[in-house]
């Protein structure tokens, strides 16, 4: 069986300018942050980012990697707004496709099922439809004749997700309470890369957790990256929770253009090892 292990930088090198990249997780929860940090270090640009958005979106906007964001929200959860996403929007630096959260899921599910669209009521009557001139409705062919929104399939060139465990072949497992939409992201994508806290032997995946925790099978995974603390500073429960102090530091620096270069120098100018080392120093100074 193929050993799909690779590095975060290998994943970033798979991206090309202009690609549509789906990022799993939800808000500031289980985001593939080590993969995002690798993208920040790479030359790729003009990405369309599809995300239940958190600091992944903010950091990619900060680094000028983003042409368009497809989103229903961008939030740091314990902090309502991501300052870099706000700046990108308020300066007109990026284009957006704004969806209701349910529409967003329907768009991914349609792509995963190879359907052109999925019908929903979500979005009808709201400005989501007024602002997106490409959206169309569809009429039920049955007696009810109801008009529904036809959410177009959101196909992805690449999906990036972070889970708790995987084997080297790409069978991947979440150990927290919520799968989010990570498997749907992977099925909607031409290629999928999963980072995990730890790569283990296949038999160990179900040694201490129920089989239902196996979210991704190797058939839908192209690469596996072992990145301990790879979701930092977002949650990857039960391995760790959100680093609230660090997230506040990120948000404070992101708000202030004078402090931002210092944040980049300290945390984002080196590789993942350097990042975690600086995070440890930051934590020890608390």
């Amino acid at each position: 069986m193929a050993d799909k292990r690779m590095t975060a930088d290998d994943v970033a090198a798979e991206l090309a300018d202009g690609m549509t990249v789906g990022i799993g997780g939800w808000g500031s929860r289980r985001k593939p942050m080590a993969l995002v940090r690798a993208i920040l270090r790479s030359p790729v640009k003009d990405l369309t980012v599809v995300s239940y958005g958190g600091p992944d979106v903010g950091l990619l906007c900060a680094a000028g990697k983003v042409r368009r964001v497809v989103f229903g929200f961008v939030t740091l959860d314990s902090i309502p707004f991501d300052p870099w996403f706000s700046r990108a929007r308020e300066s007109g630096a990026i284009e957006v496709t704004e969806y209701d959260e349910g529409m967003f899921g329907a768009a991914l599910s349609a792509a995963a099922q190879r359907l052109p669209f999925l019908p929903t009521r979500a979005g009808l009557g709201s400005d989501v439809t007024r602002l997106n001139l490409g959206l169309r409705t569809v009429r039920s062919p049955y007696a009810d004749g109801e008009e529904l929104l036809a959410v177009p399939a959101q196909e992805l060139d690449v999906a990036l997700v972070h889970l708790n465990r995987a084997d080297a072949q790409g069978n991947a497992q979440y150990l927290g309470p919520d799968p989010y939409f990570d498997d749907v992201f992977c099925l909607a994508a031409k290629r999928s890369f999963v980072s995990v806290e730890k790569v283990v032997d296949t038999v160990d995946l179900t040694a201490a957790a129920p089989v239902q925790s196996l979210l991704l099978d190797r058939g839908s995974v192209d690469g596996v990256v072992e990145t301990p603390r790879g979701a930092h500073f977002t949650t990857a429960v039960p391995d760790y929770g959100r680093d609230e102090r660090f997230q506040r530091h990120y948000a404070n620096c992101a708000k202030d253009l004078d402090s931002w270069p210092g944040f980049v120098d300290r945390f984002l100018s080196g590789d993942e090892r350097a990042y975690l080392s600086e995070v440890d120093k930051f934590g020890a100074a608390a």
Partner: protein, 240 residues
């Protein structure tokens, strides 16, 4: 007993859920959470509530169900057995709500959360709003980005499950039970006059039948003060 405005607001939010039975209550924010929990502790024991993550938990904290975000969006919302209380950066006379952005959507003056689940919530199940600071900035003639769908837009879009119930603010309780579904005052909180509400609302509001919001019972006050919010965070959100 000296009752604060915040405590009146908590009870007013609790009253939103009266009669809801065994449905999912999704209160967003502190006062809505206190209100929903108070309702469940007293007159609506059947309410289902999440821990903010993927578990449904009982009043005693026992996990009684699994409700990840995908289940919420795929089945709970469309199935309709849910009552959400959302915030609102703007709300208009027909109950259109904005949490997306202020200004022009292409380049907003202020980016907010995004529409989140508001479009889907409002066309699928009962939705109420909580506004901690009732002001002309929030109660506007027209919202900038329709996130939650109001009565006029729901009618135009033919939405049969649309059910915007009430708006609770620091000043009173409002609904849309008028012939054209424009906003009406149900009750003003004790000490609030009609003039205060008029001065804080950009559009004309029917205040003719407004009563006075009921005060908490002794039992409710005990739950609020001793059980649900002993550190009185509610008083920071709604100063008296």
């Amino acid at each position: 007993m000296n009752v604060t405005r915040a405590e009146v607001a908590v009870v007013a939010v609790a009253e939103l859920f009266r009669g809801d039975g065994e449905i999912v209550a999704s209160p967003m924010g502190l006062i809505p959470q206190l209100g929903a929990k108070l309702a469940r502790l007293t007159f609506e024991p059947g309410l289902l509530m999440s821990d903010g993550e993927a578990c449904l938990v009982t009043t005693e904290g026992a996990i009684e169900g699994w409700q990840p975000f995908r289940k919420m969006l795929d089945t709970v919302v469309p199935h309709g057995r849910r009552h959400v209380v959302m915030g609102a950066n703007q709300v208009d006379r027909f109950g259109n709500q904005n949490i997306s952005a202020i200004g022009d959507h292409a380049r907003p003056a202020k980016q907010l959360l995004g529409v989140r689940g508001a479009p889907g919530n409002t066309v699928n199940h009962r939705t109420s709003y909580w506004v901690p600071r009732h002001s002309k900035r929030v109660f506007v003639e027209n919202v900038d980005i329709v996130s939650g769908v109001g009565y006029d837009n729901a009618a135009k879009a033919g939405q049969r499950f649309h059910d915007v119930h009430r708006v609770v603010t620091n000043l009173g309780v409002f609904d849309f039970a008028t012939p054209d579904h424009s906003m009406r005052a149900v009750s003003l909180h004790p000490g609030v006059t009609a003039d205060v509400v008029r001065a804080a609302t950009s559009f004309a509001l029917d205040l003719t039948e407004a009563g006075t919001t009921r005060e908490p019972t002794a039992e409710e006050l005990l739950f609020i003060r001793e059980v649900l919010d002993p550190e009185a965070f509610r008083e920071r959100e709604v100063p008296s």
